[in-house]
Subunit: 408 residues, 4 copies
């Protein structure tokens, strides 16, 4: 690798930072920036439309091409062996949580049933108890084998600590993709003396499969992770339905801005190095419209949890809960009841029987592309966006209240 | 037609695009624009007021003058033969859906009753079944004849595909106006090889009645449609009460900005060519106040669905549902219960017995004009507007909750 | 009066218009201005505080000094003879609706009881029926006499039409102040040929009592009304609790901006002519905090309806409804249940037994002045204001819902 | 003390005022500033992360170092002798209200039980009655002694009037810190002739313990209080859960801006004088995320009420009410039911069994610091912030309504 490119991006970074509109006065001691969420934007049709059949929503990650730009989150309520296989067959991808119930318990069904049936106040203690059971190397291998035997793509997700611990196991398996995932992943971690500090470059080099890393939200971290050798980037901190990071830690950046920033890093990196690293918008995505907006902000694909947890085959049995691994001292995910609204096929490829944007996600993406006159994800990233807050006005609350039967 | 004018508008377009305030940083890779909805604006009284009797709210479309600047949407829950005639007699206009229940079924009453009575979960499947019945040429002609025999104006609406298919039928009928309508209409459509691609100019030329087209939301598409020969433009994508385009596709542009942009295209076109093409604000309009705001943004008239669906003679029987024709794979309209609040006459011309702005819409428009001191729609388009968000504050929710009987 | 001053304000007006920040692009055809409501602002304490006893909240209108800068609205649910007298004794002022129930019916009690007892759907028709009874000259005189005999200030309110019609009656009475009030009052009214057009200057000159006029919302109209000879200005269109002008007509301007604009007209007029015309903020004022904000925006006093309708002696009997006189064809006021929370004295002067800012309004004003370190209303008009929207966030709805007992 | 430094800050002040972005037109007569609340911001991760064990959240106030940057508010529902001791032991601090129930009643338990059991309408009158009992010197001393005997830190809070009255008592006690607290504290108070006016400099000099003063919200007042000799500053007016100052008086400034402004005063003062005065964010803080945001805005610690009132040992018994001392004529605090969600230890140091950010506040702060890559509070004050309003959108209300069981 030519060392010259390292200097150039640094200059680019500097320019990016200067270019950022950090022009709002929070108070006398700080100027800050406005960031936007996907609820605040909408897409604008242009002068051209396109036949649905001409649209192509595929993307490529770690040399694997997928017809559907949707990755199901590595959450215990979302993906198990069966859904991973089913998602592969549908042209999408499902990631199994390497530190979850599937790899801690030989028979996870009982545990999943318990989680779905306890009351609200017993949820956190149950979760803390369930996750005290250690992760087992043989179960990791077993889950990978099960997926591969059924013809699916084996994608697993783990924290940096787990990645180091189980690296050898994974390298000896048939795994296709590894997702290195923490609330926030940095390229510079300060640890206690004597403690092994994570070097993402080393990890990428020592793993025999492509490593997709995240989550990150800024240009600089995205750039550094790409330089460290990752094959994909998960973007998004805070916005997920079952994620309470913003309430607990105050941390989060609205998704539209995060994707926009990181996708510029991707483009700059591609111009310099010639390697195209896909950006995966992750968190807060509920409907087909949300996915379309993430793509228009610059994402190549999305990672979604709650929309998949609603499928009749999801392991969550109508429930969805956050955080791959709950902290024993500061749990941050919460459990929400999402219900079961249809088969995984109906959710991914339709036909829809719900009109709220949660069925036939691929159809929604391609219909949006057709309406916006774009042929592929690359063109989708360039459609015009407007700030169009769907803010709640008095009138709308009134309407809503009446629809909910609270009216006069 | 002089070909010279084609160059000039191109330059004009360029200027418009430069003039647009695309000055908000969504993120590092995109600068975007703020767009406004009608809930975010209000009209400002000037120095003059006017007698109610001096106000004139009429407008002209396709050489047909209407006293009331209101067009009822081509939706199955809104317009049938009887309401079309009644609306004509009241000085307004009603458009029949050429691809709806009226032209698929000889006796649509049973179907309409079924739609009004099924439960929420059965609605989408029922609709998909109902619309599998093909549209019949003889029913199109029969509905036109029924309207004409009763002395009404015969206005029908169809998708581009239907317009091509039934062009001959319509040309051999007594139809007065044709509304060419899709979620988004473009002037440049890319189709599969060998498939007939829509040329709006050809269609306008081959139709023997004035063609009103839409929906569009931008200056450039509006300008191109006018150049293609349309006699009116429907403006609005996304904001309708029964429309879920924004949720499903991510597409939409707030109505005030869309009308403002397209009405400039109308004015520029008029300056160049001398033909005045009315702009019809379509979507999200609930009250008289909403209509007044659309006119002040630059519209010549409005197209409304749910306010007309509330009339006792509406075919929806107290229900309203979106989308002229539901997609079998990705339905986007939803059904809402709107109730029946009074006769069509009471809704259009009063007297009102409701105080929420949904009765006596013409009276509201003319009272607003009188209060604002403007004589006609043209002057109404120039009144001062302010950004005045009726945002929901904490106090208002409290009040509202108490009014709804949820209090302490 | 020297004619020279007429030219100067015209120049001033021009400058004001240029000075206005009409810098937001609504769309390509319109630049507009952001206006602010009192819910969006808050007052900032300075470097000085003051003893409560040193504060003086008095103001003067038509040479009548009032200790309390509060005028009760001329609404049938708010002021009758008894409340007018009680308000006078408390140092405030109450205005009787000259075209309301008190002057149409000798014994208004029955009518008021009916209004308080009918169901929601019967309200508008009842109101339209009640107001078909004509206004009676002798009842106008009787109400004035009753107030005067009990030692109160006799203030009445009427529309321009009624002012012309009953001018002689009023001139022959002991009335103290006349409030000329319409939704919007202009200085230039275009009427039908042969119809008497209102000339406010003539009206002011021919009335033997000071005329307070409104409502207006702009610098120019305020300036013209002052030039026409009014002794006070009511400012505010749209924001009232029982007013639906914005929904029905689309008209309204947020109160903070309206007061700010009109109070500059007052200051400019005072500089030129030497006459100080008080500005009365009218509409949307619910709490003591709201009053304080109106004063800080530039008002000299406020006119309030619903807070007074909550008093146990209010004629509305726990209800409040809008519009002095309902239109037979386009009614715009609505009826809301406000309850009876305490005596008029408790509401105006305390002591408060509610902690939500609706009791002891004078105490709230003076405590705010004391906290902000200002001695009188004139200084109060100069305190620092910040934009501080009390917008509803997700967390707050949650809290609120739990407080309302809707929680899990 | 060198008098020279007094001139320099005046110049600095002038520059600050000029630097403030007072650039929004409220109306023609006023330009104002936008202020931000903590609900409108979020923290942005940088390029570095840190081991949890490397973080240090301690701060120092009046030479007393505390491991936890949390001070429990001097409210009767929050701190009594037992909780003050427990908080000291946990590394935090609890302030006893010197004019509250603990110092008016020898046996406060009965009174606290009554407050927790009365209905909503009886609350204000009960409070007014309860606080008519005078504060007793011997009880002040007794509470201080009780805390000291159990090994806690004795911190008390009083109004300026009480501070003057009980100065000698306090100087003869073992008190550690004194909090001088009013809704708004100014350095220049205008009193009636002959009435003793508060001189904060004299008070600080005559008190034998460090004096922490507030509340203030502006650069200039903060600077003057520091010059007067205070050892800490409470920042925040209006935002508290049980505080209704904004509704009653119209006064308040969003917390993020207030902390930012005052922390610049702290830094400027430190540069000039070399004394570091901690800034304590006070009001409106509910979760760990809120605390993290206050620190990032520039605070050194926070003062919290309702989160502590939720502990099983809080004197409020599941209730929380505002204002140290209710006004007999204009009460401003309100009572809210907060419930009892866990032990004080669980709330301060965990482990959490709730996932909403209200348990393990220290863990939340340190996890946030670890994620943001900062070692201590000083570094935390420099993390990047974005404007990221968690505004309520239509979709979110719908979700929320469904979660609350109000769904279809």
């Amino acid at each position: 690798m030519n060392k010259n490119w390292i200097i150039t991006p640094l200059v680019v970074n500097l320019i990016r930072i200067i270019k950022k509109s950090v022009n709002i006065e929070l108070g006398l001691n700080k100027k800050i920036r406005r960031a936007y969420g996907i609820d605040e934007i909408a897409l604008v049709p242009g002068e051209r439309t396109l036949d649905y059949e001409l649209t192509d929503a595929s993307f490529t990650i770690g040399n694997i091409r997928r017809e559907v730009p949707i990755i199901a989150s590595a959450m215990d309520s979302v993906v198990d062996v069966n859904t991973a296989v089913e998602l592969s067959n549908l042209g999408a991808l499902g990631v199994i949580n390497m530190e979850g119930i599937q790899t801690r318990y030989k028979n996870p069904e009982d545990i999943l049933s318990q989680i779905a049936s306890v009351g609200k106040s017993e949820f956190v203690p149950l979760m803390q108890k369930v996750y005290r059971e250690p992760v087992k190397e043989e179960l990791i291998l077993q889950r990978i084998n099960e997926v591969k035997e059924m013809g699916g793509l084996a994608a697993l997700s783990g924290t940096p600590q787990a990645a180091i611990k189980f690296r050898e196991t994974l390298n000896n398996s048939e795994i296709d993709l590894f997702f290195l995932q923490g609330t926030v992943v940095s390229t510079e971690h300060l640890g206690m003396d004597g403690k092994e500090s994570l070097n993402i470059r080393d990890l990428c080099e020592s793993m025999e499969v492509p490593v997709i890393a995240g989550n990150c939200v800024t240009y600089n971290v995205a750039m550094r992770l790409m330089k460290a050798g990752v094959s994909g980037l998960m973007v998004g901190i805070g916005p997920g339905a079952a994620c309470t990071s913003r309430g607990v830690l105050g941390i989060g950046i609205p998704q539209a801005t995060a994707i926009s920033d990181c996708s510029l890093a991707r483009d700059d990196f591609f111009k310099e190095i010639g390697r195209y690293i896909p950006i995966i918008g992750d968190g807060g995505i509920v409907t087909g419209g949300d996915i379309c907006k993430c793509l228009a902000c610059g994402a190549d694909a999305v990672m979604i949890g709650s929309p998949i947890a609603k499928s009749s085959s999801a392991p969550g049995k109508g429930f969805h809960w956050g955080m791959a691994t709950p902290s024993p001292i500061l749990p941050r995910g919460t459990r929400i009841e999402v219900g079961s609204t249809g088969s995984l096929e109906r959710i991914i490829k339709g036909p829809a029987v719900l009109d709220d944007g949660t069925h036939n996600l691929l159809g929604a993406i391609r219909t949006s592309m057709s309406t916006l006159g774009v042929k592929n994800i690359k063109e989708m990233q360039n459609v015009e966006i407007v700030i169009a807050p769907s803010l709640l006005t008095e009138g709308k609350v009134y309407q809503k209240a009446q629809q909910l039967g609270m009216g006069k």
